[in-house]
């Protein structure tokens, strides 16, 4: 079920009313309702893959319990690796089987021996990368004795399948989300209103910004061979805002929806395009994934302890794996590697934790230095997005080559320049609102709160009208494919 669909607009109020009016007397009932609603939510897309979630839930639930009672370290390790193998095995099969098969065949033919293989006809289950990492975090934390395993199967099922964040995150940690299923949840007006506001802003990001940018970005990327350099730059910029609006919009809707049910999810995006260096960008972009890799990969590998070589090796590893997590394509691996290269100078000069505070905090305008830093970081990010969006490495190479040709000086050529101008205007308004709200959890959190009610409601209605106006360009959420 898509957040930006009529189906969800009907589903959410029904579940919300059942949750607070019928199930509010018992925590168990509320949790059971969440599991049921989550399975309906996921099964709406393809019910067959519910078995995967259920299997993953059963495996990690059982392993969690066994890990608690097992004292033998070797057996505990075996249990942990069973969970890792099952979860990553599913992920590997559904997401990467064809990639490895194709590259294996290509490698053999490169060395002169042809082997006959056929790509497998596999459907990628939506959200598999997200819930796999979420359940893995549980088992690893239980193994490390950072977390008590749960004995309540319904609670654990609700944790794995919690519908607001099931298919595209934020990837929650068991230490944050699981205890919330044990706590009595009472309805809080301010939390619910805040949640609604965040949902509204998330929908705006997705429907108005991302989907408008997507039309133009797709048009340019799909016909890049016929476009001049300046049009390709526009294409990259449109994609930059498409992916941000799309993914952070999803996260906002997920977090807002959770708040309606009394849950607090972790922040996933913190205005990343206002970052002053790449390290800051990665502290602000898809935070639930970057911190996951930090905690479960980077630190276990030694992190920044053990000298420069280890630091560099671990940094490259984490960025490459992060790139590969996005999909089975060399473009993602190169994208990750490029970010590692961007990151390297900061790491080697120990400047990777320079910009920890919010840019221009308490001020309307950034300093010239901050502006320059933001622009240069943004440019690097846009450049990397070209590789991320390209169909393959060759496509990315041609795209970038054309940008660095004389045609960059020509005027952009678009089939519908009026639409492009309107979209650019929307993006400017969006950046402006995001800038104003950069000290909040989401841009709309405090915007207009001090205004008189009619004015504030006029702002919300403007957003709602924009949603209706732009509804229809509907595109799938990009991160569903990851």
């Amino acid at each position: 079920m898509l957040f930006n669909s009529i189906d969800f607009a009907v589903f959410l109020p029904i579940v919300f009313l059942l949750y607070w009016l019928l199930a509010n007397k018992s925590l168990k009932l509320q949790n059971a309702l969440i599991v049921l609603a989550s399975y309906v939510f996921y099964g709406w897309w393809d019910w067959r893959f519910l078995s995967l979630i259920l299997f993953s839930t059963l495996v990690d639930y059982t392993i969690g319990i066994k890990l608690k009672s097992e004292k033998n370290q070797t057996k505990r390790k075996i249990l942990l690796w069973t969970s890792i193998c099952v979860n990553l095995g599913f992920l590997g099969f559904f997401k990467y089987a064809n990639f490895f098969l194709d590259n294996f065949t290509a490698a053999f033919s490169f060395f002169g021996s042809e082997i006959a293989t056929h790509s497998l006809d596999i459907i990628l289950p939506v959200g598999i990368s997200f819930y796999t990492f979420q359940t893995l975090s549980y088992t690893i934390d239980v193994y490390k004795q950072k977390l008590e395993p749960t004995n309540d199967f319904i609670v654990f099922s609700a944790f794995v399948s919690f519908f607001p964040q099931l298919v595209a995150g934020p990837i929650e940690r068991a230490t944050n989300l699981l205890p919330q299923f044990y706590k009595k949840r009472t309805f809080e007006l301010s939390k619910a209103v805040d949640g609604m506001r965040q949902i509204l802003w998330g929908l705006f990001k997705k429907i108005v910004i991302a989907d408008s940018c997507a039309e133009l970005a797709n048009q340019i990327f799909n016909n890049s061979a016929e476009m001049n350099g300046s049009t390709l730059v526009l294409g990259a910029l449109f994609f930059t805002f498409q992916i941000y609006g799309d993914f952070s919009g999803y996260s906002d809707i997920a977090i807002g929806t959770s708040r309606l049910f009394g849950f607090n999810l972790m922040q996933n995006f913190k205005f990343p395009y206002f970052s002053r260096d790449i390290a800051e960008f990665w502290r602000r972009w898809h935070m639930s994934l970057s911190t996951w890799f930090r905690d479960y990969l980077y630190i276990p590998l030694g992190g920044s302890r053990g000298g420069t070589w280890m630091k560099v090796r671990n940094t490259f590893l984490i960025f490459i794996v992060s790139g590969f997590w996005h999909g089975a394509n060399w473009t993602f691996i190169v994208w990750g590697t490029l970010h590692a290269i961007y990151f390297l100078p900061l790491l080697l000069t120990n400047k990777n934790r320079n910009n920890l505070e919010i840019v221009a905090q308490g001020n309307y305008f950034p300093t010239a230095r901050e502006l320059l830093q933001m622009l240069s970081t943004f440019t690097l990010t846009v450049f990397a997005w070209i590789i991320f969006r390209a169909n393959d490495i060759t496509h990315a190479f041609h795209y970038i080559s054309e940008i660095f040709s004389a045609s960059i000086l020509e005027a952009p050529k678009l089939t519908d320049s009026k639409e492009a101008i309107i979209t650019m205007l929307l993006v400017f308004i969006f950046i402006f609102i995001e800038w104003l709200g950069r000290e909040s959890q989401f841009a709309l959190e405090h915007l207009g709160l001090k205004w008189k009610r009619p004015l504030r409601h006029a702002l919300y209605y403007t957003i709602i009208i924009a949603l209706f106006w732009y509804n229809g360009k509907e595109q799938q959420f990009i991160y569903f494919q990851f």
Binding site: L21, F187, L189, F468, N471, G472
Partner: protein
């Protein structure tokens, strides 16, 4: 919870009011549309179809004939319009002159009948007042993507169609290419031929039979360069599609060697051309002893 519900309700008042106003407006407009359709149904001869037929002079074909054709009109909408017209039990329609041509089965007609495309959304806006909202035609399959055309359709003037005249002539290559690309380019893997057009053409035929309306098919000429560009498969599809309508009179001028001065663009007659062909069609019909002039 009560406070939350009250807040939501208070916030929703303008939206609810808007919905109420829209419904009222829709019903008032629908009554006006029905009155207009009743007036149109008093004409014995109607011309319907897309922009090709829209150029023809009704009076030159048959005194008092009413042209209700409209640019880029899928037969589904023609069918719905006709259906709405004959709802008037006292209608006097006895002849329908329907435009039918090769480009009518081109991919653009798939887009005009599909709400995933801008063309389809425009169709909804234009024809909303003629459409049954809940039907099994496969046009309105969801309300998800159509809110904007649906709302703007309520407040927009419905497309009844009507005669259109152009004084342009001698179209250049650019104009011809533009029309060709618009009709025959495949945008997003839609089918090469418009099967839905064919289905609704047959439905119009059935509707005419059931209501004793004489259906006459008319194909006006194409510019030579435009005709040359069209894949022969479309000609075959066109011929095959019309085989099932053998029982109907078909005045086919597609192969006519027409001078460019009679064309306003690739596939439309200009004022001169329209006068010429309207007279020819009128004469042909008279010659066939179809005495539609004095009915």
């Amino acid at each position: 919870m009560k406070k939350f519900a009250a807040k939501i309700l208070k916030f929703s008042i303008p939206a609810l009011l808007f919905i109420l106003i829209s419904f009222t407006y829709y019903h008032i407009s629908k009554t006006k549309v029905e009155a207009k359709l009743t007036a149109f149904s008093a004409h014995a001869v109607l011309l319907m179809g897309d922009s090709q037929i829209q150029r023809l002079h009704g009076d030159s074909i048959s005194q008092g004939a009413k042209n209700l054709a409209s640019s880029g009109e899928h037969y589904y909408f023609t069918y719905q319009k006709l259906n709405a017209l004959i709802q008037n039990k006292n209608h006097r329609i006895d002849t329908l002159i329907l435009g039918v041509s090769i480009h009518n089965f081109a991919p653009v007609y798939n887009r005009l009948f599909n709400l995933n495309f801008a063309e389809g959304k425009k169709s909804l806006k234009r024809y909303l007042y003629f459409l049954p909202i809940f039907d099994d035609a496969g046009f309105i399959t969801t309300f998800d993507k159509v809110l904007k055309p649906l709302i703007s359709g309520i407040y927009a003037a419905p497309d009844f169609g009507g005669f259109y005249e152009s004084t342009n002539s001698n179209p250049n290559e650019e104009i011809i290419n533009k029309a060709f690309n618009m009709h025959f380019s495949i945008k997003q893997e839609e089918a090469k031929f418009s099967h839905s057009q064919r289905d609704y053409l047959y439905k119009i035929d059935r509707l005419c039979s059931e209501n004793n309306i004489d259906l006459i098919l008319v194909s006006t000429p194409y510019h030579f360069d435009y005709k040359e560009k069209i894949d022969r498969k479309y000609f075959d599809f066109f011929s095959k599609s019309l085989k099932k309508l053998k029982h109907r009179r078909h005045l086919n001028f597609i192969e006519d060697p027409i001078a460019p001065r009679f064309m306003s663009d690739a596939n439309h007659l200009n004022k001169l051309g329209a006068q010429k062909y309207s007279r020819i069609i009128g004469k042909e019909l008279k010659a066939e002893k179809r005495d539609i002039l004095h009915r």
